[in-house]
Symmetry: C2
Subunit: 475 residues, 2 copies
């Protein structure tokens, strides 16, 4: 809780004056911003996006004509080609595909997950999706008693005696009191990511995970798991929050429950794919790059619209907006549509490797991967020296973003730009309003109709304005 | 553009120090806030709303089981009784209905509005809704040539020669570059409100108005018009923005167009209705009131969900939240569900009259009538003396709202609390994100599925926190 205005009587006037002065001094930009010019150009950027933006029709095409696009799938390949073809129309200096080998996981047939033989509830299906990367069950499925846990402590306490031969049901909900929903996600997603191997360690034969959402509904949310190869790879599925609530109630009422699960997902050999990249070459420092991106792959349900068609089409529009305003950047400005954020991050890693190899300095890398909702902020991170040195400089952009409702703060960037961290540039995350995101994240409900055109356009404009300021003032 | 951090070199250190000091001093609260206590209680309010809120299920019932509820309609009466019955369950000190006579306008049969005999486009229907309060056409409808204008200057220039016997088509769009969409609405809604009489002055026989929305779609938006009784009352309808674009194109291409309109709306005699009110009596100053409200009536299409079922159910939840936390207010805290905001404001006027009559001082009146979207701010107004004296005091609440993403600023409140302005209290508007509001405002698309539960609850919590602070610290 920040409140520099309280309890003034306890501080002498002089002390207060000095504190205020130095606090303010610390926030002064390292070099002056030309405020009138900058404010006017930022305004032009927003006007361009709101009157002539392309991200919305692009996103419509990507969502409705290509749809979901898991790494290695035919639709991911289609998305790569289409994205390149759109960039090719923008008159950029270069557009290219950066090859990368990606994991190729397939879901197989629709999951069957059901409680069987409950005295009160009988046999009933639960809405479920296999977790990405999960092995399938035996061809005939598996049937076992279920044991519910909410914490790792409960799991460890049950131990092999309580777990061997059973299905572990992870049912710790996301915390609804977190204002930023990503924090609530962060406090629950360990169950999905690590639950299978930690249960396998004690001899479990399968895993059910409560879907990662704050909504109480019947929509299952998939997402990646990480196996620890020390233990048997056991199948894992997410069930809807309504199914989780019902199963939990049943366990309380009846003391035990048997679940049947049948999935046929499998990991195929790695497949060739690409990051899609377009750039406007810097007029003064072509070897210095400001990158803005999202990830082109999505889970294999829904249309991959908010996750992360929005980030891709906004990033493409950043370059188009700046170009349409006749802006000639000092540094190279690049949009990168990364492949394979969801289940491997191979695209992000490859991009950083190639940048390193070519000796490109990434002055800044910005990612939009939190949905295409209304803009709330821009968050910055980097290695300690970088963020310590440069955060106050970008903080000075704050007033320029105020009319558009964005705050500058320290915070996370994005998975795909993460591998650039060692290269001493700033990393930035575009931060839209988070309330609606986990209603649809990794589900069949992540579709184009959930997007508001203006919210999407305001996001593209916000990133374009940041790119403009970073390009103009450097680090 | 506010940027106190720029061009420091032009100011001496001393001057800067002094400026900063006095700027800050001006922002000091007139009395100290107990920040830790207040922050903790505000946190409890948000926790309560997010874990046990009632506004969402209430809004679901109001939307799906009662639906739209224009003043004077049977469903408005049903909404009054249901709202009272919900308040009756909350253990408030008083719940009552405040009688008020309201206008009773009925739409009649579905509107028929079509372009006829276009050489290129033939005859085609346009999606249309009669404006609220409009007279109907002759029973057989009317058919006339259309003339398009975007400004009053164009209208006045056409004059009687260009207008007599014709239908005037107002086609000035809302400005997409306004960041807050209410500003764009404010820049276009004069056509809907005043267009009929201003066209009738020059002998027009009817009016078409481009729908008040930034979306390009086929959904017509109704809303009130005001007739100037000096001129003939002519029928007026809103057409969808897609229909407006098509008609405008046709006029450009073909030079003229004929439109047929048939509506059967009419104004019936005034009908009895009610404001619905519940209160927790003040323990120290029962004659001083803090009111929080929304309007219970809606237009007669859709479910009246965001306009303004959200404001009503949030206001009811404000009292429930404070009560459930055991908060005992010093002043009387009241929720008011006003009747007839949409087409007469009779409820707001009646409420102020009664307050005046009873000598109640409204310390503050807060309205939520801008949709149930994610919270962005609280805006304050009042008569000059009031706002000048008290705004800096409420500004000091700012840091307490920061963790929840709200800013305190000067700005509009709400139509229903407006009539209290003369009574020297503060007026406040709850300000949610505005990007999605005019997609659905006054349309068949204003339905419950457009609401995000958490956004709604965060709004209720924000208003409850404001009520708590106003009650604790007074003016």
């Amino acid at each position: 809780m920040k409140n520099i205005c309280t309890k003034p009587s306890r501080l002498s006037r002089t002390a207060l004056t000095l504190i205020v002065f130095f606090t303010l001094l610390a926030q002064l930009p390292a070099q002056s911003l030309s405020n009138d010019t900058d404010a006017a150009f930022v305004r032009k950027i927003y006007d361009q996006a709101l009157t002539d933006g392309r991200c919305y029709p692009w996103l419509e095409y990507l969502s409705l004509n290509i749809g979901n696009r898991l790494s290695g799938s035919a639709s991911a390949e289609k998305a790569v080609q289409w994205t390149k073809s759109m960039l090719d129309t923008l008159g950029l200096d270069s557009v290219w595909l950066q090859p990368v080998m990606v994991p190729h996981w397939v879901r197989g047939e629709a999951e069957q997950v059901r409680v069987t033989g409950s005295p009160k509830y009988g046999t009933f299906d639960m809405k479920a999706l296999a977790l990405g990367g999960s092995v399938g069950t035996a061809p005939r499925g598996i049937s076992a008693e279920v044991v519910e846990v909410k914490t790792w402590e409960e799991l460890d306490k049950l131990n092999e005696r309580g777990i061997r031969g059973k299905i572990v049901f992870y049912n710790r909900p996301m915390d609804p009191t977190k204002i930023r929903t990503f924090e609530a996600y962060g406090g629950a997603v360990d169950q999905r990511v690590g639950g299978a191997s930690r249960a396998a360690k004690y001899g479990a034969v399968g895993v059910l995970v409560r879907s990662m959402t704050l909504a109480l509904d019947d929509v299952p949310h998939t997402g990646t798991l990480h196996y620890d190869s020390t233990y048997t790879l056991i199948p894992a599925v997410a069930i809807s929050t309504m199914a989780a609530e019902k199963l939990s109630r049943l366990l309380k009422e009846e003391g035990k429950a048997t679940v049947f699960m049948k999935t046929s997902c499998q990991m195929l050999p790695d497949a060739p794919s690409f990051n899609v990249i377009g750039e406007i070459r810097g007029s003064e420092q072509p070897g210095q790059v400001i990158a803005v991106g999202g990830h082109l792959d999505s889970w294999d349900v829904g249309q991959g619209t908010h996750d992360d068609g929005t980030g891709c089409t906004q990033s493409m529009d950043v370059l188009r907006i700046l170009k349409s305003l006749g802006y000639r950047p000092r540094n190279t400005i690049r949009c990168v549509m990364f492949m394979n954020e969801e289940n491997g991050l191979r695209g992000g890693k490859k991009y950083a490797e190639e940048a390193q190899r070519k000796g490109e300095f990434h002055l800044a890398a910005i990612e939009s991967d939190a949905g295409g909702f209304t803009p709330r902020g821009l968050t910055f991170e980097g290695d300690d020296a970088v963020i310590g040195k440069f955060f106050e400089k970008v903080s000075a952009y704050g007033p320029l973003f105020e009319p558009y409702g964005l705050k500058i703060s320290r915070g996370g960037s994005g998975s795909d730009v993460g591998p650039l961290r060692g290269m001493k540039g700033l990393l930035c995350g575009y931060s839209p309003d988070s309330q609606r995101y986990f209603d649809i994240h990794h589900t069949a409900a992540d579709t184009f109709d959930k997007v508001n055109k203006r919210e999407l356009e305001l996001g593209a404009a916000s990133m374009a304005a940041l790119v403009y300021l970073l390009d103009k003032y450097g680090l």
